[in-house]
Subunit: 441 residues, 2 copies
């Protein structure tokens, strides 16, 4: 029986889980794949660390070159994180004709065009099932299972840390900082959770899905991203009262000539299936023009779920080597055309809005604010009166009350103008809170 030699670069939580599963499920994998997968070498910069899953001495590479120069190694699994180091590694692997499997969403989202074009020129395949939504086989679903569809919309809960925090805030009425601390203690949030909290991690993932779904590269630096820091429990409570759950939602929509890609805290109707995706779970809802609405749900992070995805790519690429298929027509590239996608600008977004003003407790304010909304052609769907919400309200802003307006679909541009107008008129006494609402009318 044929054997495919592979190597892992980066031996953290996911690397350890990949090694463990390759060893423990050796028989199962050989049966399913039809050939043997042999973990020949592992490289890490720090062999002195304690490892959950121990390796044989001869599996430990002393240098990266030991792997790159080993012609038997056909697949390199990159699990290092960051951008500069893995980018160099990818280039070296590609020139050495080694296929790559990666979980590195940052690298693919920010340097995808460079990497995929170089890979394609060299007939090298890059497997990245593990880069988006961990164990959920969403890349395969999008590329193969839904191949007959034009993808219209993608909505994803793609970051487990922020979903854990928002779920806790919703169910236990706790404040952001309190829950973040709890998440760090439980290991659900990193010591430095910046990329999770500020939405960048989710933005990396939705950028990859958008590229794949809409067939082109996009300029990641222009993807609109807003995180969950600053979210107050008052707004989560008020949203609940209106029938909404707050999620850090990653959204990709296809328009005629443009694509709309954005990540921000979003109110979803409680009846939306994504509303009940709780804790560290991830989910992706995809709308195709023929299949309709489909949803994929599972663990988006963690050693074993991510390793499950990494191994599915190893098996797949290994198979193409064994079968000698040469270049697997479309699979090298993230997409089938090397076009650049045009990103819709923030000010051109159309959606619904939840807006909370902090207003003086005097008669006539609502009418003044409503007048401004009318001026900018923003239609109001609901208003929450002050009386209901005083319980959780910040008492330090004296003699004010919160006033919440839920709009019908409006343009971001008009919303921003209206709020500026209202603030210029000094109708508000504190920062206006704006949360977008995804709720088709």
């Amino acid at each position: 029986m044929q054997q495919i030699d592979i190597a892992i670069v980066g031996y953290g939580t996911v690397g350890n889980a990949v090694a463990k599963i390759l060893e423990e499920e050796k028989q199962l994998l050989t049966q399913k794949a039809g050939y043997k997968i042999n973990l020949k070498k592992v490289y890490t910069r720090n062999w002195n660390k304690h490892f959950k899953y121990p390796l044989k001495e001869n599996q430990k590479a002393k240098s990266l070159e030991e792997i790159l120069n080993d012609q038997d190694i056909k697949i390199v699994v990159e699990l290092t994180g960051g951008i500069d180091f893995p980018l160099e590694l990818f280039k070296k692997c590609i020139l050495k004709k080694k296929h790559i499997v990666t979980a590195n969403k940052a690298l693919l989202a920010e340097k995808g065009k460079e990497i995929f074009q170089l890979a394609e020129q060299n007939n090298i395949r890059i497997g990245f099932e593990a880069a988006v939504a961990g164990g959920i086989p969403i890349i395969r679903a999008l590329r193969e299972g839904l191949v007959a569809n034009k993808i219209k919309n993608i909505y994803g809960i793609l970051n487990g840390t922020t979903n854990f925090i928002l779920t806790k805030m919703y169910t236990e009425k706790k404040a952001f900082n309190e829950v973040l601390k709890e998440a760090q203690e439980k290991g659900y949030a990193e010591a430095d959770p910046t990329l999770d909290i500020n939405g960048i991690d989710a933005a990396h993932k939705i950028a990859i899905l958008a590229s794949l779904a809409f067939g082109g590269f996009l300029d990641f630096s222009n993807v609109y991203t807003e995180g969950i820091n600053g979210i107050e429990k008052l707004d989560i409570e008020l949203g609940k009262e209106l029938g909404y759950t707050l999620k850090l939602l990653a959204i990709a929509k296809s328009h005629n000539d443009e694509v709309e890609v954005r990540v921000h805290p979003t109110f979803l109707p409680q009846s939306n299936p994504l509303s009940s995706v709780n804790g560290v779970f991830n989910a992706v809802l995809i709308e195709g023009n023929h299949v309709g609405e489909t949803m994929f749900y599972g663990k988006g992070a963690g050693g074993e779920p991510t390793a499950s995805a990494v191994i599915s790519d190893i098996v797949d690429i290994g198979k193409s080597i064994v079968l000698n298929t040469g270049r697997n027509i479309e699979i090298t590239s993230m997409n089938w055309k090397h076009k650049d996608l045009s990103l819709k600008k923030v000010e051109d977004f159309y959606t619904r809005y939840y807006i909370r003003f902090t207003v003086p407790d005097v008669i006539g304010i609502l009418s003044k604010i409503a007048t401004v909304f009318a001026k900018y052609e923003i239609s109001i769907a609901a208003v929450i009166q002050k009386e209901k919400v005083i319980e959780l309200y910040d008492k330090s802003i004296e003699k004010t009350v919160p006033l919440v307006i839920l709009t019908h679909t409006a343009s971001e541009n008009n919303i921003q103008k209206a709020i500026k107008d209202i603030e210029n008129q000094k109708l508000t006494k504190s920062k206006t809170i704006i949360i977008r609402v995804e709720d088709p009318e």
Copy 2:
């Protein structure tokens, strides 16, 4: 650019949708696949029917032989339904070296062993993504995406008609017959909905998933199947009170040497993600030993969702022809070992139970029933008292009240013995209602 000629046999709703999408999405599919798909011929026994999607005259085959003898046609899409005719067609296609794509779950569940063995001997691939859960790419997920996992459990809502009926009964408190009639009028249920209602359709689908997940063939005639006819709205209401939703659940579990496969009405806790799968939607929850819990959700039937799955298989098989991969190691066969799976017997099932007795309205009955339960080592988790439930109760059984017992995990064998004992003691006045509960303790 290379072209793959295909043919469709059977030109109903799904066939029309396949032809339509192949034509309308020609450009997209060619870009994604890397080769052209050409619908060369279609065969149906009745060309006089009205078709939603019209064909060119030269696409209409006058006989099946016209397709079978055409050496250019590499893939035959079987969309006829039934068992005998497609079985013969499959055999002929395999001997003529034509690959097959099918949506026929009955055929695969009942004759899978014969078909897949013959196909494998002849290096023929059979695509059956459309046979289970329509547009949801569950076959691909199970075979490729989750390849690194031993599958522990599968729970599926696999029949849209019955899920539509149960959803309506739950939300609108209507009776079974009333909702069935409505479903037929709306086209959500066939004129003859027998295979849906009695659970056979769901059983066909879970049998296919179990074969794939657990790697072996199983004897379909021994799969335990119970339908939803006879479900009373009273039990749906009582379940709701206890925190459960009633679903026609298809279950496959892996034990050491045996597999447990069963389809029956099942109470699920309202917090289970499958509980909120409503209407004609399907969902499949899979537990793998590494990936944990994943769920896949979408439309399980209908022309376009099913056609979306059919076309994903055409693209995939076409690609293996273009790339000349020869036999795609594991993909021909439903599983990788030609072993027979051993099915757990009904009496050996262990689960929780909802049991409704119809008892005389006298003191002491509960204590007598509880004594019998204790004798058979069945532990009671909850009891619903008669007072709460009288509203929906069948008034014709005079001077009786319903008594509901929810058990902890118990063996089917002991449950059946206990009920027999209770009925022999004439403690009940009408048929005992038994509904299994899936709720891990």
